[in-house]
């Protein structure tokens, strides 16, 4: 090995290792996929339901505010459920909306928007919620008596406060004072959090302080979740959040920001008696489910992974995904231990069958079939057949035996016996043929050791391939493939002795020259 290709090799291994690790790191940290399969996460399903009665012969247009994507949570799934409605998503810098439209309808209508999400562990819900603050000043017009009331209220508050934070706090406190005439005038006797927040923002704007009402949903299981309003105020450097009822400067970290501004949550044309309600449900999902959810988010890097496949195909791949791991076991056993097997990758196929039958049953069934197959093969030898017809007869016998074992185990009530159908019968046939030839040519000892070696390797491969942790990693993190490739490359460079050679050459070690 000359130096140049040696460096080339080292660089290749390092690049594979690092890119594999980077891909895993990205999926783990950025997409929040846990590295351990039994880690579970709480996934929230928030559903908003807009019901109304359709007006006769009027086109219907309903617009609903919906949360911005990636505002402190990872959106796993988003559905718009509505019959016969055209759905348009209207992205916006400030608010995202969905519009349902239909030419005409009659009777009760229900439009659903459903969002499945989980929170970023280390990210605050509001982290990404940061828009140009100047846009929030002075959009509210007050006139006449209301304007006088507002100015009076503001004057009191400004006098009593040192900075914007204390002013906002004081303002909200003042607005919560039901005995104040000014407040009564401003709020018109509606002391709801939403009204107070609206008024607070209007007054702050009047005083040239950027502020905004934000509307959110508490992530708490509830069939009738109440949307809550919050006051967001910009100090000039950061956004601060105030509870419109208590005036506390706080923001619960389980709040999902739905939209912001003074606009109503929805607009409806062509309908009446509209009602918007929210349902919040939570469920605990394990890591694989979470990964599968995440796979449906096409925007992410993950859309190139197995998780973006249809679920049925995913199941097939969840089995295949571990094959490289089984192959790695074979490489280790061959290059470092020196186990001899029938065929290079035959043990992996046997191990795949073991997955379905379980090891003990698998070995038992395998031995039974091989034993009878060998007996038949021995008998066929007497008939002096050509090899392919002979293999055909053995294969047919194998299939018959598999059927017979399945029938017997069904009658006796052993469910495991039925799974024998999953054995690769061509592999079985070739194994029978090879055992038989090896036995004739090299004797029973060699045939037995090779058979045992194959079983041993198959069991090792099986254990590796059914390891919950390994299966999970390979299925969810494609980066693991790059890393396993790097490992295989390294094994390919191993020039040392195999364990079996230490035994084989031990006589040479004893003698001291």
């Amino acid at each position: 090995m000359d130096r140049k290709s040696h460096y080339h090799f080292i660089v290749l291994v390092i690049v594979l290792m690092l890119s594999g690790a980077a891909a895993i790191y990205y999926q783990h940290v950025r997409l929040g996929l846990p590295l351990v399969p039994n880690a579970s996460k709480t996934v929230w399903e928030v559903e908003s339901r807009l019901t109304f009665d359709a007006l006769k012969d009027t086109p219907i247009k309903a617009t609903l505010m919906i949360p911005q994507k990636e505002a402190g949570f990872v959106s796993l799934q988003e559905n718009y459920i509505s019959k016969n409605y055209g759905v348009t998503e209207i992205p916006g810098k400030v608010n995202r909306k969905v519009q349902w439209a239909r030419h005409k309808a009659s009777g009760k209508q229900a439009l659903y928007y459903r969002l499945t999400l989980y929170k970023h562990a280390e990210q605050q819900l509001t982290e990404k919620w940061d828009f140009t603050s100047s846009a929030y000043v002075g959009s509210i017009h007050l006139e006449g008596a209301t304007k006088v009331a507002a100015s009076a209220l503001l004057e009191d508050v400004v006098e009593l406060s040192a900075d914007k934070t204390s002013m906002t706090s004081a303002l909200i406190k003042a607005l919560n004072d039901r005995n104040s005439d000014n407040v009564q005038l401003l709020l018109g006797n509606r002391y709801s959090a939403e009204n107070i927040a609206d008024a607070a923002v209007a007054l702050l704007s009047l005083n040239h302080v950027p502020a905004r009402v934000i509307h959110g949903i508490r992530l708490k299981t509830a069939t009738k979740a109440q949307p809550i309003a919050w006051v967001a105020m910009y100090t000039g450097t950061v956004w601060q959040y105030f509870d419109p009822k208590t005036a506390e400067k706080t923001l619960p970290d389980d709040i999902l920001i739905w939209y912001e501004g003074e606009d109503p949550a929805f607009k409806l044309e062509g309908g009446e008696h509209a009602k918007l309600s929210f349902t919040v449900k939570s469920s605990i999902v394990n890591a694989v489910e979470l990964a599968q959810y995440a796979g449906q988010d096409r925007s992410a890097f993950i859309s190139f992974s197995l998780l973006s496949l249809p679920l049925e195909t995913q199941h097939v791949y969840s089995i295949l995904a571990t094959v490289p791991l089984g192959v790695l076991m074979i490489l280790l056993l061959r290059s470092f231990v020196g186990v001899s097997t029938f065929g290079t990758f035959m043990p992996v196929l046997i191990a795949l069958a073991f997955r379905e039958t379980h090891v003990a049953w698998g070995i038992g069934l395998f031995l039974i079939i091989t034993f009878f197959g060998l007996a038949i093969r021995h008998y066929l030898d007497e008939l002096h057949l050509l090899i392919v017809p002979r293999l055909g007869v053995i294969l047919t016998t194998v299939v018959m035996m598999m059927g017979f074992i399945s029938i017997m185990s069904a009658k006796l009530g052993f469910a495991q016996g039925l799974s024998i159908a999953l054995f690769p019968m061509v592999i079985l046939t070739m194994t029978i043929e090879r055992i038989s030839i090896l036995w004739e040519e090299r004797g029973g000892y060699e045939a037995m050791t090779t058979t045992l070696g194959s079983f041993f390797t198959a069991i090792c491969a099986y254990l590796a391939m059914t390891n919950v942790y390994a299966t999970y990693i390979f299925f969810v993190f494609p980066g693991a493939y790059l890393m396993i490739m790097a490992l295989m490359l390294l094994i390919g460079r191993y020039r040392g002795y195999r364990l079996s050679e230490l035994i084989r050459f031990r006589a040479m070690a004893k003698k001291v020259k």
């Binding site: 002096h384 090899i387 002795y497 364990l499 050459f505 006589a507 040479m508 070690a509």
Partner: protein, 314 residues
């Protein structure tokens, strides 16, 4: 365990991993493999180079030719049937004589013409070839081995294996059939390997079933100290296989015929490692010397043999 590995490394013992990666893959061009994997090709090539080989009586490559083979079997008193692509001595049948229209195998058992034809059919369908590919069966001259080996072999024909690297003979041994190996000269099958001093052609100690022993397991006679006749001729054949095939790393299998002298039997591009036990010496040191020498200057057959005799004597 580490001690064992270090000790073997110290002695220059070559392992399978290193053999495959550093020698087989590096010195043997894959496209040249057919020259050694197909024994008919090897034989033809050797004849073109005036190298002594056992005469080929017939090559059977189609099922219908099997019926016609009876004529050949009739005309020859003794012969050997072997697959052209066989490995590890598998599928070989040696017929030593005929009796009552039956054929006597080297182990004394009598077989019928049908048995032989079945064997031919098996060979054709690829039972013994690597990867189960369709194969050709060869019927060739049976080597009558020299009486020298009579006391130290059980049936079958002993053969001499010489490993060459870039045409330099590196290590040699003679393989003696035993009862266990069913008369075959393959160490995997239980034949005995006896190391040979490259310089003199004298046998050293023996190895049987990976154990170092001094006497033949069946005859009980000492295997060491036998002088192999025509040793220089053996070395010459082995060394010139490099130019003949272009393969840099070869196991050359030779036999000593009573009448015709040393003959090249077959070549192996992935020679085994047991030869090291038979010589009680690691082969890596020798390879390194050869590699160093060949990097200096390209030598001819005679010069290479001289180099080997000088540096690799026991």
């Amino acid at each position: 365990m580490w001690w064992l590995a270090n000790r073997l490394k110290e002695r220059g013992v070559l392992g399978i991993n290193r053999r495959n990666a550093d020698y087989v893959q590096r010195y043997n061009d894959r496209k040249l493999y057919p020259l050694v994997d197909n024994k008919i090709l090897t034989k033809t090539l050797a004849q073109e180079h005036d190298m002594a080989v056992p005469e080929l009586y017939a090559a059977v490559s189609a099922e219908h030719e099997i019926r016609d083979i009876a004529a050949i079997f009739k005309s020859q008193r003794d012969f050997v049937i072997k697959p052209a692509h066989g490995a590890g001595g598998e599928g070989i049948i040696v017929i030593t004589s005929k009796m009552h229209g039956r054929f006597r195998k080297s182990n004394g058992m009598l077989v019928t013409l049908e048995d032989l034809q079945y064997q031919l059919s098996n060979i054709l369908s690829g039972v013994y070839s690597l990867g189960g590919m369709r194969d050709t069966a060869m019927v060739e001259y049976r080597v009558k081995f020299d009486s020298l080996f009579e006391s130290v072999s059980y049936q079958g024909v002993p053969d001499v294996r010489i490993i060459t690297l870039m045409g330099y003979p590196a290590m040699a041994m003679v393989r003696l059939p035993t009862r266990q190996s069913d008369g075959k000269a393959n160490l995997h099958q239980g034949a005995m390997g006896v190391g040979i001093d490259i310089a003199t052609g004298t046998t050293l100690q023996g190895v049987w079933m990976n154990e170092i022993i001094d006497a033949h397991p069946d005859t009980g006679n000492t295997v060491a100290g036998l002088e192999i006749p025509h040793w220089d001729e053996f070395l010459k054949i082995a060394a010139s296989c490099y130019e003949m095939t272009g393969l840099g790393y070869l196991g050359v299998d030779l036999v000593l015929d009573r009448d015709q002298g040393p003959m090249m039997l077959e070549l192996n591009a992935r020679p085994g490692l047991n030869i090291q036990i038979a010589n009680d010496d690691g082969i890596l040191h020798r390879y390194r010397k050869i590699e160093a020498q060949s990097a200096l200057k390209k030598l001819g057959v005679e010069a290479r043999i001289a180099f080997a005799k000088k540096h690799f004597s026991a």
